[in-house]
Symmetry: C2
Subunit: 151 residues, 2 copies
DNA sequence: TATATCTGGTTTGATATTGAACTAATTTAA
DNA sequence: TTAAATTAGTTCAATATCAAACCAGATATA
């Protein structure tokens, strides 16, 4: 099966839509988030709060598909704000573990709340059920891209 | 209808998937594109080639949901590479029109070709039909976000 | 018409991200 | 056991992006 012109265009269009949605959503989130915290920083706090902290920087970089350097940067600003602390890894001298501070947890709660009004404004306009239904399909696309990252 | 906890999480997860797919896709495209041309620049060339040139910078900025300043930057690098030319707008002294040069058209063709191998490698792994089926739904999400940009 | 407002585009300063080079610690293998 | 290769994280230079301030031309209004 080789993709025809029609499909190629559709794939481009797919990634184009994805890119634009990402732009719009992150701009919206960035505007809502308090204290000039960037959505990519919030995402890390959120991840740690919801899925548990004590992860390594590398794990976080993989989870968000950013480079190690980017994660170093993100963690250092979160650290400067005292939202996280980095502790040495118990058994691996090269590695570190990321923990939320209580200020970090408090901020995450506050940040989620600050997104409330925007979310509420979209209520009734976005079809949540359809978005939820798309999740597995999107996850599949993400997995395929992830597995073929070295193209 | 107010969104419950379940839905809120799902919406976050939706945008999270979108963000990760965008990362992976643009990283892949950036690696494939020739001469260090960034995917965002290619996207503009592609747009002009497929939908016709002679657009204003502002129209392009709106099409890709980037700021005017970002589009100025993108166009100036495309211009430096002689892929486009900017001509004054016939009736509006403030405005400009963007045209592809023949080098720009040639590059666009070459760039599409250079994406071929990566696309081929994904062939059989990505479910194009499902992606195509998602297009209208993604477009709907994009439209809603677009209409509510001032939240 | 003259002034005020609006609009298209540029500029500026700050931040996010990348890829590549680098350091230090661990693991592998000779 | 020691040297080589791998791995976790940092640093660096370059680029993309944004928000906000700005300029000049166009439009509205008084």
């Amino acid at each position: 099966m080789t993709l025809d012109e029609e499909q190629r265009k559709a794939v481009f269009q797919f990634f184009n839509e994805i890119g634009i949605i990402q732009q719009l959503a992150s701009t919206m989130f960035n505007k809502c988030l308090p204290d000039g915290v960037h959505v990519s920083h919030f995402a890390v706090l959120n991840h740690l709060a919801r899925l548990g902290d004590g992860k390594t920087p590398l794990k976080l970089a993989e989870a968000f598909q950013v480079t190690k350097g980017t994660m170093t940067h993100t963690l250092s600003t979160l650290s400067k704000r005292r939202f996280i602390t980095l502790r040495p890894h118990a058994t691996d001298g090269r590695s570190k573990l990321v923990f939320l501070t209580s200020a970090g947890r408090a901020f995450q709660v506050r940040a989620v709340e600050s997104l409330g009004p925007a979310m509420a404004a979209l209520d009734g306009k976005l079809d949540y059920d359809r978005m939820i239904a798309m999740l597995p399909e999107l996850a599949k696309v993400r997995e395929v891209l992830d597995e073929n990252r070295d193209l």
